[in-house]
């Protein structure tokens, strides 16, 4: 490869050229975008204003949620409109532990915030997985709204009478978790890095899951369930396990969101929350693992700018994002970006892409 190039150029490149050539090859190569993204995510936050740092944390949280959701949506091909249930369950677990039991240790809160959604998914799974396609969608939607009603009604799940004459439902003033590391109390910067570590762990786990035989079996079920059954797969069990795994990741995201947002309320169970990972997956591209991450970047950034300039019109913008995503970016922006990147690579000398 290198020899070819030297022959073509006809002289040995000097040291500077060699280094710059190497850098451009790394940056324009297959992992280039990943490297650039990692560098940005690692170095940027301490130097930007606090609200942008918080927005970046939020985007990482929703990226985890969307990736977890996409395991069921993109890989398994089941459209669930009830993932807010698991997200909210994770969030409420953390918030209720703090509010009622005054436990803010990360090491207790996080395992419970995973366990509760997992148990919920294990209980709801047999009900929702009786149905497929349209009925699955309607059923998960209704179950999401059921949890919304429960969290609205249940006394222990809200602090009534905080602000506003009708009272705020939900649990306000959730604080950052205690990591039980001496000398480390989380502030917005360290909380961001804490979320980043969580995001990386989740990404690696999901990468392993989707590239395992299990992940391929899920894609097989999406493409043709009867065929997988004929091959001897117990497809119901695969779906059930995928739902539970997805719930676990949603719970992680929910817990992080409760810490980030400082307040968790019934709407986080409801369909509005469940639709966010879906729109992120579709915008970013639901057939690839990093698709939902890109979708999350786009949606959260737009939300950030909308919240500055036209807070009241945000639902209108969000709805328009849905429409535009469906009409013009159905394959997913992630896929377009990947193609664009290949073109850039070819154009600027990286023949191997």
């Amino acid at each position: 490869m290198e020899k070819d190039r030297i022959q073509r150029i006809g002289r040995l490149p000097n040291e500077v050229e060699r280094v710059s050539h190497l850098t451009s090859r790394i940056l324009l190569g297959r992992f280039g975008p990943l490297i650039i993204a990692v560098i940005l995510l690692l170095t940027l936050p301490p130097f930007v204003p606090m609200d942008i740092r918080l927005m970046m944390a939020k985007f990482l949280i929703f990226a985890i949620f969307a990736m977890g959701f996409n395991l069921v949506f993109g890989y398994l091909g089941l459209l669930s409109l009830g993932h807010g249930v698991y997200f909210g369950a994770g969030g409420y677990t953390v918030a209720l532990l703090q509010y009622h039991l005054h436990i803010d240790s990360f090491w207790i809160a996080m395992p419970l915030a995973i366990l509760v959604p997992v148990v919920l998914a294990a209980l709801l799974g047999p009900i929702v997985l009786r149905s497929t396609g349209m009925y699955f969608l309607l059923l998960t939607f209704a179950i999401g709204e059921l949890f919304y009603s429960i969290s609205w009604q249940a006394r222990f799940m809200s602090v009534i009478g905080v602000g506003g004459e009708r009272g705020v439902r939900g649990i306000p003033s959730v604080i950052y978790p205690d990591l039980n590391i001496p000398g480390l109390a989380l502030d917005t910067t360290s909380f961001y890095y804490f979320i980043l570590v969580g995001f990386v762990i989740c990404y690696i786990l999901l990468y392993r899951i989707t590239n395992s035989p299990f992940g391929h079996a899920l894609v097989g079920i999406r493409e043709g369930e009867p065929r997988m059954q004929a091959l001897g797969f117990n497809t119901w069990r695969y779906k059930y396990i995928a739902l539970i795994i997805s719930a676990a990741f949603s719970g992680v995201a929910g817990a992080m969101f409760a810490w980030h947002n400082t307040i968790i309320d019934p709407s986080h169970f409801a369909v509005g929350t469940s639709f966010l990972p879906m729109v992120m997956s579709i915008i970013g591209g639901s057939k690839v693992l990093f698709g939902p991450v890109i979708g999350a970047v786009i949606v959260i950034f737009v939300e950030y700018f909308a919240s500055i300039h036209m807070r009241l019109r945000w639902p209108l913008i969000l709805g328009s994002i849905f429409v535009v995503a469906v009409m013009f970016a159905r394959a997913g922006v992630g896929v377009y970006l990947e193609r664009l990147w290949k073109k850039v690579g070819v154009r600027y000398g990286n023949t191997k892409s």
Binding site: L79, M134, L138, L139, F141, A142, I282, L312
Partner: protein
Amino acid sequence: MEFFATNLLNGLSFGMVLFLIASGLSIIIGVMGIINLSHGALYMFGAYVGWTVAKQYGLNFWFAVLSGALAAGLVGLFIERGFLRRLYKQMNEQVLLTFGFVYIITNICLWVWGGVAKVPFWDPALSGSFDLAGLLYPKTRIIVICIGVVLAVFLWWLQDKTRVGAIVRAGMDDKEMVTALGINMGRVSMLIFFLAAFIAGFAGVVGAQLWGVYTYQGLQTLLFALIIIIVGGIGSIQGALTGALLIGVIDAFGKALFPDLAMFTMYIVMIVILIVKPSGLLGRKVQ
């Protein structure tokens, strides 16, 4: 006895409005295989338009009903012609698109009409109460029940006794075959969608007599409609009617007998039905 009769009538009037909402959605899902989540938003939009016509311009109530229905129908037509037509058989995209329209319509309504809930605006000539063998009952609710019955009969006639209904029923079973017989399914779909949205707007103005209009109604109504479709079964007027009346009556009695659990009775019915008969009470098979 009076307790029973009052709650039964409450439940029936509630159920009739629910039927108006759910019937359109059920047919859309059944005939076109389109899940239109913006159906509830169309209901709300129709109600707002009706409110404006009746209160702002002080026009006749029936004119308000008609204009609300027409407004919702036109918006529905726009959504179908402009967008949904291109998303045939792509359920995920339909769901996302129509939910986007829920946000858009809700926010525009909030923009135009403000966040304050609008109270019922019944025509004075039609208000007051009705003497039902010693039981004084609001005339509005009786009229709502009558409207529901008339519309149910009309829709049943349309579905079972007319050529359009026959095409629609055939389309549910085998769309390709119907197309092959020389029927323009695109136009039939458009007509059905308009009709469904029209009825949703109609239901909006009628339902506003019971609950008023507010901006969260889009989602709430959608939820009611979906529960009824799940309970009654997709794709038939009879199914929607059964589900709606069942849910309406159970909800009314639930509210009277167990006020603490009032929010959950619908869900409990739904889950029980799903476990016993997953395709709904009178469901037909939808591919």
